[in-house]
């Protein structure tokens, strides 16, 4: 997601203003001048300043130029990047109900297929990788991964 410096600078400045404003409304500590509000206000001020400078293009001459993008792609190609975080979200929402092995198999299989693997590779990987991770984390490290619909064979 390549954005112009104006957009990112404006976002940073806005977040800075919000942080400073929210910080200034934090309750102080009775009998003291400095409290929990000082640090967020300084940060907010700094972000506002940086955001404005970035939006104005100051310092952009020092940046190392990016590698030119390869062949132009349709806009939805960029959405593929959202797949890994979406799968993590899927994991959070379903792991307790479906259990670790099933959820993990889905995450691994989908990522593998999305990266261009054939079913011949993706299927065994989706079966074996969760089992391996389960052994390491549950058996050796005693992390309580949920069983859900399918318990591990051990």
């Amino acid at each position: 997601m390549q954005l112009s410096d104006r957009v990112t600078g404006a976002v940073i400045a806005t977040v800075g203003v919000a942080a400073a404003w929210a910080g200034s409304r934090l309750p102080g500590v009775p009998g003291q001048d400095v409290g929990p509000s000082v640090f967020p206000m300084i940060i907010g001020g700094g972000m506002l300043l940086c955001g404005v400078l970035i939006a104005l293009g100051v310092g952009s001459s020092l940046e190392v130029p990016e590698d030119p993008e390869e062949t132009p792609r349709p806009w939805f190609h960029g959405l593929r990047a959202l797949l890994p975080p979406a799968l993590l979200l899927f994991y959070v929402l379903t792991v307790d109900r479906l259990g670790f092995l099933i959820t993990a198999a889905a995450v691994v299989g989908v990522t593998s297929l999305a990266l261009g693997a054939r079913l011949r590779l993706a299927l065994p990987l989706a079966v074996l990788a969760p089992l391996f991770v389960h052994v390491v984390f549950v058996k050796l490290l005693r992390v309580p991964l949920p069983d859900g619909l399918m318990a591990a064979p051990w």
Binding site: G16, L121, L141
Partner: protein, 495 residues
């Protein structure tokens, strides 16, 4: 002496030895895979270290990071794709050597001088840390504030992008560190009524998201790197002794520059390699040969990046200020294992410190045989398609983040930070600066607020003590440096 013997006993435990060996193999494999950096290797290890003994936990981090920095040279040399950012500085050179039929010499130089750099860096850690610890005992919150602030500024200085974007990234990290109740007044800040946020955002999910998830996101958009042509290697170490003698001076310069950059808070192995490679070219007797497959820069930069790795532990152990992103992770592990960083670590837990030095030396020595095996196995390891490696990384991100607190909220954080890291990287905001902001935020704030309370809100005491005045001056210089750079850049342009 008793401490040293105790240290040997600590390191000779079976679990520590297994941890070193397993982490070494893991580091070698992850470092050699393009796109998987040494920082990512370390971040994914942290959940595992929860369940290890303190020395074994630190051993895994030291061994894995040292190996990963070396093995990043392998795909750089054979495919012209650096395995870790720390190898990027001399990838073209190494690849040029491979094309000239000197792949063994290039890989051997990477291995041999990495090991030497690691050992020299360790010696600097052994010599420097106790001396500085003596001094650090007299530090008050004023000095600690300046040190932490200086660390943040250095992180923005060395970033290879616009310093203003780097500072903005650092502020984002500091803002993230404000979340929760862990502030001097214990007031919930920026929690938006979410109970999971009351405890603040742990650095580990943030690190895993920024360094691992965003890497998988990038892989979704880029083409698969070409497969490695199968080849047989001759002797890897042949000719290295000759190189050592011939380029003795560049090697030492690389070691020293690496050590200095490592000690600087925030600047790590990748910066050390870039600076050393540039220096090598600048001072070489035959600069025209650079870029055509000339080993001199390889020697200097290869030594430099591994030397910086060990000396990066100096500020981490003494002040809890990370020397680079890898030690930023290590500090968290140190706290978790009851080895809280600070000058007293060297007096009260001397045996643990000796054990740490020993592990560094051992890791750099076994790097040579394991590294040779890895180079020989490289064509098999690098054959693993991305579509089989990346899915496992995604799964490890989820499980690893969950294991840090048996809490699914961390997995959500990993996903969020993955997106944030991805967008930031794409737009030229260095994520390392943000990570340091997250890790050091509460330290900067606590020391700043405590100092202000002590001085009755007066800023004068921040400059009155001699050491804090020097640190303040250095911080000011670091702040003004980008301005000087901008100014210099502008001058010659009007023509």
């Amino acid at each position: 002496m008793a401490d040293l013997l105790e240290a040997f006993r600590l390191v000779a435990q079976t679990d520590v030895i297994i941890a070193i060996l397993a982490a070494s193999v893991y580091g070698l494999v992850v470092g050699s895979l393009p796109g998987l950096s040494a920082t990512m290797a370390t971040a994914l290890l942290v959940p595992i270290t929860f369940y290890l003994s303190p020395i074994a936990a630190i051993a895994t981090i030291i061994a894995a990071s040292a190996m990963a920095i070396f093995s990043g040279d392998i795909p750089g040399c054979l495919l012209r794709i650096p395995g870790t950012p720390a190898s990027a500085a001399y990838t073209d050179e190494a690849y040029a050597m491979t094309r000239k039929g000197q792949a063994e010499l290039a890989l051997g130089a990477g291995l041999w001088f990495s090991a030497i750099g690691g050992i020299v860096g360790t010696l600097s850690l052994v010599l420097m840390a106790p001396a500085l610890a003596e001094m650090a005992l007299s530090f008050s919150t004023f000095e600690y504030f300046w040190l932490a602030f200086l660390g943040l500024m250095c992180a923005t200085l060395v970033a290879r992008s616009s310093p203003i974007k780097a500072i903005a990234a650092m502020f984002i990290g500091l803002l993230v560190s404000c979340i929760g109740m862990e502030n001097p007044a214990g007031t919930p800040r920026f929690t938006f009524g979410i109970t999971d946020l009351l405890g603040g955002i742990e650095p580990i999910p943030a690190l895993v998201g920024v360094f691992a998830v965003s890497e998988v996101m990038r892989a979704m958009l880029t083409a698969e790197p070409p497969p490695l042509p199968k080849r047989r290697f001759g002797s890897i170490l042949a000719g290295q002794w000759k190189l050592t003698k011939k380029y003795q001076w560049p090697m030492w310069r690389g070691n020293i520059v690496g050590i200095i950059i490592g000690v600087l808070p925030g600047a790590g192995a990748d910066m050390a390699a870039w600076v050393s490679y540039a220096m090598s070219k600048r001072f070489s007797k035959e600069p025209e040969k650079f870029g055509t497959g000339h080993p001199e820069g390889l020697v200097e930069a290869g030594a430099s990046n591994n030397a910086s790795l060990a000396s990066g532990w100096v500020p981490s152990l003494l002040f809890g200020i990370p020397g680079d992103t890898i030690t930023a992770i290590a500090i968290g592990v140190l706290y978790m294992k009851g080895l809280n960083p600070g000058p007293t670590l060297f007096t009260e837990r001397a045996s643990s410190m000796y054990a740490l030095y020993l592990i560094f030396i051992i890791a750099n020595i076994i790097m040579i045989p394991l590294g040779i095996l890895m180079i020989r196995a490289a064509s098999h390891v690098l054959k693993a398609p991305r579509s089989s490696v990346m899915p496992v990384i995604v799964l490890l991100c989820a499980v690893g983040a969950f294991a840090t607190g048996n809490n699914l909220f961390s997995v959500l954080l990993v996903a969020l930070f993955g997106c944030l890291g991805f967008v930031m990287e794409r737009n030229g905001y260095p994520v390392a600066a943000m990570v340091l902001g997250i890790v050091m935020g509460s330290m900067v704030e606590t020391n700043f607020i405590t100092s202000l309370i002590k001085s009755d809100s007066s800023v004068l005491p921040f400059f009155e003590r001699p050491v804090s005045a020097v640190l303040a001056f250095m911080t000011g210089a670091a702040l003004l440096w980008p301005l000087a750079l901008l100014f210099r850049k502008r001058q010659p342009q009007p023509a």
